[in-house]
């Protein structure tokens, strides 16, 4: 069967080009949510089984079961089902619901530890093989790391790096499997490989090997399909097949890789084309369409990776970042909102709130009103979704067919990938500037030739001059670490399944990041506008700071301090851009902490803004807890000033508001949230997590977690099941500013 008999032909029928298919065949939907239906009995039966399994997982300290023998690959595990006769969409990572698998290519020690922390010893043969015969990513990185990188890493200046876990953040264009089938994709890759001729430079040889690996992965995916009695060699012809094929492509990725963020892309508008077609032909009805999406989303909620406990410090709550971008507009002005966009959001009612998939609405003031209101309603009801500025990303980054990698990062689908790189601690870096280049906790000399400050009161110009020197050195070391990590990841843990669904020589973004922005900036503001005296210990290291006078804090729409934030990001990004990058990737920067703001805070001494040693930072680009005192809009306006152009990996803002403060009636709340999002993004802001919650409910959930099995909270570019957070992370979420008005 030819797909062109079902769908409007175009470039997509001659070349691998899903974007063209979507643009040629999409039916935008401009109505409201009234067409949506509830979950079917089948879906409910399945989800009840899942909820039971999730409860068992929670009761067993987060891991329900674990396969300690089988190295997880695309074909490693035979078919697994929840309850086969009810499943419209099949496929599990292993042969059993919520059973976690080992993926030692990232690092054998990590897997050994993760197993033993869960009361299971890893199979001796696996351990022996990966210790003596097969090197891992983690080993490679540490072979190449310099002493400097090691100390900047271990003392908390640059941490959370993907050197002992897989980097993730690469989004395969999983739609390709549905539109083309394996055979056609293999043919295309074989043609690419043929064209990759000499001269055989390092880069060319590497690329040839990578494409050969991708072809092997495609063949394996076909075999995986056979386990489930699916013929993935051909394209999908029906809506059910399209959903199934897309899921199989994604499943291959999460069987082979355990990257921190394994995002999905932007599949809803693509799937809608198939669903609309089946609906038009009378093959399915709305109930079946919703059932497909509910069951697909259910599967996405069951993705699990095996992690060490310490991983929880940087990424709390066992996240997988199955990020799906919803909505947005094409560059020609048409909306990408379809009925299936609504259907994805509807899963939060049909299956209840949940952190995964990480539903991310690409917001534009031009979106249909009915869709905007439904999004706002979902936020008010579930606090499970986040928003990103579609107009801004299309303007700066150009593609209108993109997904969001991990939390907030733009990725042109199928044409671009990203090398993830955690973050540098801007607040701790500032302390180096005040301590003559020495670590404030250990006294270790980190950066040479930083003048020792002798004035009793810190002077802004001197501190700033030192700070810039420190940041140059950090940029330099950070860049070296990133190059090593991604070189080794490609070498030992190449993402062949994901890369099989991406163009052969994609553009690459190197994603640097910063943490502690509001702490660094408030500290600079204190030094500049108040009188700050450093209190030093016997070694001359700062122990605390005495502040006399008032100073403006970030988060109050006050340019005196907000400009310091804008300038700091600009400066650091410009310095990073000057450094040579592995595979000629383009450097980008994020202001995003995930949940490492807690860990970064623990590693950082007292700061000149009055923050005590060890106190958690605010997440992402958020103003520090409780310092944004001029109301919610003023807080948003401050964050909106940070330029996306200087921080193209994303600027994360997590916003929590008490329901009543959003409006008097539930209609008012929905309308006001829509208006607020329009306003925030019109101001050029990039990202917003929206929580509509009462602090008292979170406090109650700490006391009585059994009452809140599905309570979902947005934290920093992702959401978590609140009861799965550690106590320290729960308390940090509660300490954040909850905007209230009286």
């Amino acid at each position: 069967m030819e797909l062109t008999k079902i769908f409007k032909a175009g470039l997509w029928s001659k070349e691998i080009n899903v974007t063209d298919f979507v643009k040629s065949n999409l039916t935008p939907y401009t109505g409201d949510a009234s067409f949506l239906v509830r979950a079917t009995a089948k879906t409910k039966r399945l989800w009840d089984l899942c909820l039971q399994a999730i409860a068992e997982e929670h009761a067993r300290n987060g891991v329900r079961s674990l396969d300690n023998k089988t190295i997880s690959t695309i074909t490693s595990h035979k078919a697994g089902y929840i309850n086969r006769e009810d499943e419209l969409i099949v496929g599990l990572q292993t042969d059993e619901l919520l059973k976690r698998a080992i993926k030692p290519f990232g690092g054998i020690n990590v897997v050994v530890k993760a197993c033993s922390e869960n009361g299971v010893e890893i199979d001796e043969k696996v351990k022996d093989f990966f210790t003596h015969y097969r090197k891992t990513h983690n080993d490679g990185v540490f072979d190449a790391y310099t002493d400097e990188i090691r100390s900047f890493r271990s003392l908390g200046f640059i941490t959370g790096l993907p050197d002992n876990y897989a980097r993730g953040r690469i989004i395969g264009d999983y739609r390709r499997l549905a539109l083309y089938g394996i055979d056609r994709l293999i043919t295309a890759k074989q043609e690419d490989l043929k064209k990759l001729t000499g001269p055989m430079t390092d880069a060319r040889i590497r690329l040839r090997e990578e494409v050969a690996e991708q072809i092997k992965a495609l063949r394996d995916i076909k075999i995986m399909g056979e386990y489930y009695e699916l013929d993935l060699s051909r394209p999908a012809y029906t809506a059910q097949e399209a959903v199934q094929w897309v899921y199989m492509a994604y499943l291959a990725a999460v069987k082979e890789q355990d990257g921190a963020a394994m995002s999905l892309g932007n599949v809803s508008s693509f799937l809608d084309i198939y669903i609309e077609n089946d609906l038009a032909e009378g093959k399915i009805d709305e109930t079946f369409a919703q059932e497909l999406i509910d069951q697909f989303v259910m599967k996405l909620r069951l993705v699990r990776h095996l992690r060490m406990q310490s991983y929880n410090d940087i990424f709390a709550g066992d996240p997988t970042w199955v990020t799906e971008a919803l909505g947005g507009c094409f560059n020609d002005g048409r909306t990408k909102v379809t009925k299936t966009t609504f259907r994805f959001l509807q899963t939060l009612y049909n299956l209840g709130p949940a952190p995964e998939p990480n539903l991310t609405v690409l917001w534009s003031t031009e979106l249909p009103e009915g869709f905007k209101k439904f999004c706002a309603k979902v936020s008010v009801d579930t606090s499970s979704i986040q928003y990103e500025n579609d107009e801004l990303m299309r303007e700066v980054r150009s593609s209108d067919d993109y997904g969001i990698a991990c939390c907030v990062s733009y990725q042109d689908l199928g044409r671009q990938i990203q090398f993830f790189g955690a973050r540098a601690n801007l607040a701790k870096a500032l302390l180096l500037a005040i301590n003559g280049g020495r670590c404030e906790n250990t006294g270790k000399l980190m950066v040479k030739d930083i003048p020792i400050l002798t004035d009793e009161t810190l002077t802004y110009e001197t501190v700033m001059a030192n700070y810039k020197k420190v940041l140059l050195e950090i940029a330099h070391i950070y860049n070296e670490a990133m190059n090593i990590i991604h070189y080794m990841h490609d070498k030992y843990y190449y993402e062949k399944a994901q890369m099989a669904f991406i163009d052969t020589d994609p553009q690459i973004n190197l994603a640097y990041g910063v943490a502690g922005l509001s702490i660094a900036v408030d500290s600079l503001s204190a030094i500049k506008y108040a009188k700050v005296k450093a209190v030093r210990n016997a070694l001359g290291l700062t122990e605390r700071f005495e502040i006399n006078g008032e100073f403006p804090c970030f988060g109050n729409d006050d340019n005196r301090v907000d400009k310091l934030a804008v300038d700091l990001i600009y400066f650091f990004n410009e310095e990073l851009k000057k450094l040579p990058v592995y595979k000629n990737a383009s450097p980008t920067l994020s202001v995003l902490t995930i949940t490492s703001n807690v860990m970064y805070g623990q590693k950082t001494g007292a700061t000149p803004d009055g923050r005590d040693k060890g106190v958690s930072f605010a997440p992402g680009a958020n103003p520090m807890h409780g310092r944004d005192k001029s109301g919610a809009i003023a807080s948003l306006l401050s964050v909106a000033k940070i330029r996306y152009r200087d921080s193209q990996d994303g600027i994360s803002n997590t916003f929590s508001i008490v329901p009543k403060s959003l409006g008097v009636t539930s209609e008012d709340r929905i309308e006001n949230l829509v208006t607020m999002l329009d306003g925030y993004f019109t101001k050029g802001a990039h990202h917003l997590n929206v929580n509509v919650l009462n602090r008292e409910m979170l406090e109650d959930a700490i006391e009585s977690p059994e009452k809140y099995p599905q309570l979902t909270v947005r934290v920093s570019g992702y959401a978590v099941n609140f009861v799965n957070l550690s106590r320290v992370h729960q308390l940090e979420v509660i300490a954040r500013s909850f905007h209230t008005t009286m």
Binding site: S661, G663, N672, T675, G679, M742
Partner: protein, 241 residues
């Protein structure tokens, strides 16, 4: 210069939509339950050029959407009517929606101009019975009712606000009399019942002022429902804030 007490950038309870609320300094009433007693005195406040408030509103304008705008509250905004008129004119030029939250106790020529420039007047009627009004505010309510009449005859939309204080303003006969008085008003678009709260008590302590309602309890849900039912006998749109 306009004497400003403070701002709230996300006002959702003082007029329609999202609003920048400007709390002005100085009040002609001394309500026993005032939640912002520090705004009552005319000494104090930050003398602010109209231009600064105007710029703040322009900056926040993308957040106002179709319904929102700016609300002047207080304190009592009409006490600074003369200074506010040029600012109101500029805001109107920018098509920014304006609400004035007032006790209606002042109605001079300046206030009339000010009200004419506003889109909605949030008129606080503290009590309908003049004696009980006096007990609550140290003023009678005669002028407030005249102001309401003036607004009605000048076709200026009114949202009537009523703070429900147990034992002070929750008398059924007074609420019904108030409803009777206003039932024929065409410009009265909405009734808002404001539950009595004690969030301002700490301010009395820091100001060294006695808080005379310390024995009064906050409204129960039943009390609020009951008041809402009474108002609803006469008016279509009645909300409890």
């Amino acid at each position: 210069m306009i004497k400003v007490h403070s701002y709230e950038s996300l006002g959702t309870h003082d007029g329609p939509g999202i609003r920048l609320v400007v709390f002005l300094q100085g009040c002609n009433f001394s309500c026993l339950y005032c939640a912002n007693p520090d705004t009552i005195t005319c000494d104090g406040g930050v003398p602010t050029p109209a231009e600064k408030i105007f710029q703040k509103a322009i900056n926040e304008k993308p957040f106002f959407g179709k319904k929102g705008g700016i609300t002047f509250s207080g304190g009592e905004p009409t006490m600074q009517a003369k200074e506010l008129i040029p600012l109101f004119k500029k805001l109107k030029e920018e098509r920014i929606h304006i609400c004035v939250d007032t006790n209606g106790g002042i109605l001079n020529d300046d206030v009339k101009i000010l009200f004419s420039l506003a889109d909605i007047i949030l008129l606080d009627v503290k009590e309908f019975n003049p004696d009980r009004h006096f007990l609550l505010t140290q003023r009678d309510n005669n002028q407030t009712l005249l102001t309401a009449q003036w607004l009605e005859s000048n076709s200026i939309p009114i949202w009537l606000r009523y703070v429900l204080v147990a034992g002070y303003s929750d008398f059924e006969e007074d609420i019904l009399a108030l409803c009777e008085h206003f039932k024929a008003y065409n410009m009265l678009q909405r009734i808002e019942i404001l539950p009595y709260h004690t969030l301002g008590i700490h301010k009395y302590e820091s100001l060294g002022m006695p808080y005379l309602l310390s024995s009064v309890q906050q409204n129960t849900t039943e009390q609020l429902k009951h008041a809402q039912l009474l108002f609803s006998r006469y008016f279509k749109t009645v909300h409890v804030l």
